[in-house]
Symmetry: C2
Subunit: 225 residues, 2 copies
Amino acid sequence: MGDAGGVTATDLTETERSTLHRKKERGSHERDLVDAILDEGLVAHVALTDDRGPLVLPMVYARVDDRLYLHGALANHLLRTATGGAPVCVEVTLIDGLVLARSAFHHSVNYRSVVLFGEAVLVDDLDEKCAAMVALVDHLVAGRSGGTRLPTDAELRKTAVVRVPIGEGSAKVRTGPPIDDDEDLELDVWAGVVPVATTFGEPEPDSGRPVGLGVPHHVAALTPR
Amino acid sequence: MGDAGGVTATDLTETERSTLHRKKERGSHERDLVDAILDEGLVAHVALTDDRGPLVLPMVYARVDDRLYLHGALANHLLRTATGGAPVCVEVTLIDGLVLARSAFHHSVNYRSVVLFGEAVLVDDLDEKCAAMVALVDHLVAGRSGGTRLPTDAELRKTAVVRVPIGEGSAKVRTGPPIDDDEDLELDVWAGVVPVATTFGEPEPDSGRPVGLGVPHHVAALTPR
């Protein structure tokens, strides 16, 4: 990790607020890492400030190139509170492991997270909105949108979709075993990492029509993330 | 779901900002539901507003009665930016299923989430801080703290722990199959729910000393959450 791996034009901008102050060796502004985390996550945690203070809500999202599209209740909230762009902070975190140390103090979590700062803009253009909806569906299940009925203009008009640029922010990663103090290494305590993954169970077909459709390949092909 | 299930003294306070405006039938202020969601989650998403705008970061946490204890980088940030209590918003979300509809528009996610509003206060008292650290470890793995070396006063002094009251906020839940438009029900598209869970893999013992410790029961007993 870290910032030594070569900066390209698409890497995230390091600003005062996106500069990593703590455990810098775990931080990065590399776009490949940022994109991989964003593409693997299922839900983003989106914060804004309104006249009553900070608010954070979960939202489904999708990345399309340098843009993040958000969909959910907060989009409607943004619609009510922001006319132009509203400053938001978007966080996506993947939990990779429980880090169990010999001492309570050194317990931790292995994770990969991205924090983005930007202005959220409501998407008005119906073509962009339709592309965003397709991306949102395919972000849940790769290849899902292909067989589904695509949104009508009426559906798009009653859906709030918000766009946030992927520009300013950072990624942070912890990997590896617990780091205990030397004097604790002889303690009679099991230590190690328990891997954590988001896994998918047996698909449950909707009752009703049409009868007898098999589980499609794009659903059967889901792998842990 | 909903608010018809009886309000007790410990239910969450419904204020202007915690009143549910959208899809009220999915919302609740019942403490049993709120506590169950908080106890099942692994990471909280904590938002605050500083002079640069909204910020949200992931933090490990634990619930102890009516208090939520937070631990992580943000605690240090709060330490820098807030002398007294800082208004925060804490969100915990569990993803239970991918809801795959016949139309792209009706795709959704089954989830259970809690949003809390409150003032974050840094915990100074070493006894409370120690109890919080123990709760944080046991929140990761029930029963874990028992065998571990407990924190020393020196460790507690260099750890930032933040307390947020569980008082104002709400829970929100979506369950069940996709809800397609009637005219889409005959479409030749598989629809249904794919269950989602957070699962734990084979424990990976830390290399080194002591050799030959078996995986303890509290680790082997981990179940999906």
